[in-house]
């Protein structure tokens, strides 16, 4: 009889319901969508943290609001506009493209094109300038002597 009890005791943990853990969120897919959006939104009371990462109360409140709106069928765009109506563009980490932010979004590429173009023109001009500085016969003789030195060194090693 005793071994039956022992066996039963051994099986108890499995009976206790040790199982595959449930997702922390009720709707993991929604939660993923929430976090993806929240990563692009700014926490208003933090020192430069996203709404997804922040532990602040307001951030939690806003995440709850966004979750409710997502459940109600609002799109990401609608939610973003709901937030900007209340807090302005400050809340968007993905800076909207407006007349005031054109320089921000296109500046680097304009700069790149200008840089490459400038480089191209500079190199072209440089070639003509440098070709005008030819070697004088004295310099040429010096160069020859040095090269012979270098060859002698290499041969000696």
């Amino acid at each position: 009889m005793r071994w039956v009890c022992a066996l039963a005791l051994c099986l108890l943990p499995t009976l206790a319901g040790a199982k595959e853990a449930l997702p922390a969120a009720e709707d993991p897919a929604l939660e993923q969508r929430l976090m993806r959006l929240a990563k692009e939104l700014r926490c208003l009371v933090c020192q430069n943290e996203s709404l997804a990462d922040s532990h602040a109360d307001l951030a939690a409140d806003l995440r709850n609001q966004i979750r409710d709106q997502m459940r109600a069928g609002q799109s990401d765009e609608q939610i973003k506009s709901w937030l900007t109506q209340r807090y302005g563009d400050f809340v968007l980490y993905r800076t909207p493209v407006k007349s005031t932010t054109v320089v921000l979004w296109f500046g680097p590429f304009v700069l790149l094109l200008a840089g490459l173009a400038g480089l191209f023109l500079y190199l072209r001009r440089r070639r003509t300038r440098v070709s005008q500085l030819a070697l004088t016969p004295e310099d040429r003789a010096r160069a020859q002597a040095l090269l012979q030195d270098v060859d002698a060194d290499a041969a000696a090693r």
């Binding site: 208003l44 009371v45 307001l58 409140d61 806003l62 900007t84 209340r86 807090y87 302005g88």
Partner: protein, 177 residues
């Protein structure tokens, strides 16, 4: 214009310097409200003194009024409270309180201890109305006109200077129209 090329870095730096200089007097954490000039968001909340009764935005049409967001757990609110109490004694403009994310008993006790400048206070326990108004910190104060349009938002405590330089002149102008 070979020399022009070499002076360009210095010129760019001077422009940058000017921006940084101006930047020293700005506050990068302040979020101005996009609601200034727009209708105040609608609300209907339970009153702090009598939870059975409610206060709605429509009840306040036709007068110029201040909405002050406060809480008993907010330390900065202590700074502006005497100013508000003084303002309420003058009777120039009614101040309505939005008790933000607070506990009813704690809030009432706080008012009892420090004075009650509010014509009425309402409770926003979950902060939803606060979010509608773009509240992100406490205290904040809004000036709302007779038509129910937000005309001004003060972020942070109302100081005597803010009161005399911004709020009161605006209130008088709005009341006259």
């Amino acid at each position: 214009m070979k020399s022009l090329r070499f002076i360009l870095p210095l010129l760019v730096f001077v422009v940058l310097l000017m921006f940084l200089w101006v930047g020293l007097s700005l506050n990068p954490r302040e979020v101005p409200s996009p609601l200034v000039g727009k209708p105040a968001p609608a609300f209907q909340l339970a009153r702090l003194d009598d939870p059975a009764k409610t206060l709605a935005d429509k009840d306040l049409r036709g007068q110029v009024w201040l909405l002050n967001v406060w809480a008993s757990w907010c330390t900065s609110c202590m700074e502006e409270h005497p100013v508000l109490v003084e303002l309420s004694k003058q009777g120039v403009v009614p101040v309505y309180g939005l008790n933000y994310k607070d506990e009813r008993s704690a809030a009432r006790e706080w008012l009892a201890r420090n004075g009650d400048p509010y014509a009425l206070s309402m409770t926003d326990a979950d902060g939803k109305v606060g979010i509608d108004y773009g509240v992100y910190g406490v205290p904040e104060t809004y000036v709302i006109d007779k038509a129910g349009v937000i005309r001004f938002k003060q972020i942070g405590p109302v100081t005597p200077k803010v009161l005399s330089e911004h709020i009161l002149p605006l209130v008088r102008r709005l009341q006259a129209s």
